[in-house]
């Protein structure tokens, strides 16, 4: 239908027919040629693996011994205590970490955005810095800082007269260590996103509210929060997806321990796929994870996006 666009047709009609046709053909093929690299790499390295993984989750064995297994991998999953432990750990980390981090990020953004504050650019730069570090580097760094006997954090606690915390050896504190690491790493990123959102709110709204006698808290809840709704939604969904896929941090910091307290769904998937080479089962875990991610994402968008 686009070929009938009136603007292009008359000019082309004047050209000799053979050249015209070739030029037209070239013009029609051009967008597909431009898209070819993307579509080929997408098809081979994204679409194919996604479909293959689904099929693989319905098989058992590997190589020539691969057999059709129907839904048995998924049934096994439901009865696998270790999978539920991994899912539970991931959920425990998620419900503490995401709200904590986002609240802190919002507070930081409002602070940095305040006209009362000096050297705002410096604080913005400072809190954003951790985002740049890789998760492996962060994990190694935290393993040293949180070392039970000699780590700087426990030494500092001792200085303050507080007891040492067994960060990496106690199930509860090991999960807290992951929460701490994630919060340190991503708070600045979210704060900068909120900051951009805050700067898009018209000043007149606040001025009008002040004329009407609204205090700072009232202004925050009636103007700032509603205006940030799309940005909040974006960060909630993104952090949830990210935390559900948690892998690098526990892999480096705790290796899933102690006693599987920080084993995450992604780590369990990795163990099954690349340590036990049970590709069918690993694929079933991957699809279970995809299902959880999409259901949670859809619920969040429903809850938060509705009133827009």
């Amino acid at each position: 239908m686009t070929a009938l666009a009136p603007t292009a047709a008359p000019a082309r009609a004047a050209a000799p027919p053979a050249r015209n046709r070739r030029a037209l053909l070239r013009r029609r093929a051009l967008p597909y040629l431009l898209l070819a690299p993307a579509l080929i790499t997408f098809g081979v390295f994204k679409a194919y693996p996604i479909v293959a993984s689904l099929l693989l989750s319905l098989t058992t064995g590997s190589g020539a011994a691969t057999r059709n297994a129907g839904l048995s991998n998924y049934r096994r999953l439901l009865d696998d205590p270790l999978f539920w432990t991994a899912l539970g750990n991931t959920a425990k980390i998620l419900v503490v970490q995401v709200p904590l981090m986002l609240a802190l990020a919002l507070l930081l953004a409002v602070g940095i955005n305040s006209a009362l504050v000096r050297w705002r650019a410096v604080w913005r730069l400072g809190v954003f810095m951790p985002t740049v570090t890789g998760l492996v580097a962060t994990g190694v760094m935290f393993a040293f800082l949180l070392n039970t006997e000699h780590g700087a954090v426990n030494s500092l606690l001792g200085q303050l007269g507080l007891p040492a915390v067994d960060w990496l050896g106690d199930p509860f504190w090991a999960r807290m260590a992951i929460v701490l690491l994630l919060t340190w790493h991503y708070t600045g990123y979210n704060a900068v996103i909120y900051l951009a959102g805050l700067q898009g709110i018209p000043r007149e709204l606040y001025e009008a509210a002040m004329v009407d006698g609204a205090g700072p808290l009232r202004r925050f809840f009636s103007i700032t929060l509603p205006a940030l709704r799309p940005v909040l939604l974006f960060t909630v969904v993104l952090s949830t997806i990210g935390t559900l896929q948690l892998f690098d941090e526990p892999y480096v910091l705790t290796r899933g321990g102690p006693d599987n307290a920080t084993l995450t769904v992604s780590m369990y998937l990795y163990d099954n796929g690349f340590r036990y080479f049970d590709f069918g089962y690993a694929s079933a875990i991957a699809y279970a994870l995809t299902l959880i991610v999409s259901v949670l994402g859809a619920i969040q968008m429903r809850l938060m996006g509705e009133r827009e």
Binding site: L34, A38, G111, V136, M141, L145, L269, F274
Partner: protein
Amino acid sequence: MSSRTNRLRGWPLTLGLAAVAGLSVGPFYWLAVAATQKDADIFAWPPALLPGGSLGDNLERLEAKIGLGRVLVNSLVVAGVQTAGALVVALLAGYAFAKFRFPGRGILFALLLSTLVVPEQVMLVPLFEMMMSFGILDSYQAVILPGLCVPFAIFLMRQALSGMPDELLDAARVDGAGEIRVLFGVVVPVMRPVLAALAIFLFLGSWNQFVWPLIALRSPEMHTLPVALATLHGMKADTDYGAILAGTALSTVPLMVLFLVLQRQFISGLLAGATKG
């Protein structure tokens, strides 16, 4: 309210922000200093505040353990090629989506974006089998190829190019420029800031990627820096803290430098997804 009371009221807030910024930057400073200490001094309390003289020793031992030079080259090749490749793929696709109308445009774009919600983990097993059957497991290609199509980058390029006036392109076409000339002579120069932001963003992701390289790169001499560091750190028998921390510091240095030099583009690159999405 006079400006003086305002200024006074601002101080607690400023101090609070300084404290948070300190907590954010503090660990980096600790890392930078610790990387230059002797093993025995790394856990000293109170911690050293000034760099020591052992950085060279630490790096030398790291070279002996993981082949630091080789590992750095691996990381640079993978991140460099992947960034350049993904940038070109995204530029071409973004240009097609933004500036051409063709059958299938909407569906193809939706298809590309739909994979944003699929966790990376889903692709690991089939990718591993694929690379094995291609016979390129444990090679640069195995790591680079799956990272060439970045749907988010395509999305970003399409958004940026949609804002570019068509008249600019048409003027060049009327002057007789071929489509390739239009793209590289007109589009690319105008889009340079966006391309720079995207390049940094892609490099960051590529330099730090971990799970897939961990799976695809089996032999130590092919490891990238994060994989080598995680492997070294995971060997509980090896307690050469100085070497590990020197390597960790080294893995963050290129990013810090890039970040400090190009902060504006950096932040806008990361923000693009949030504010336009």
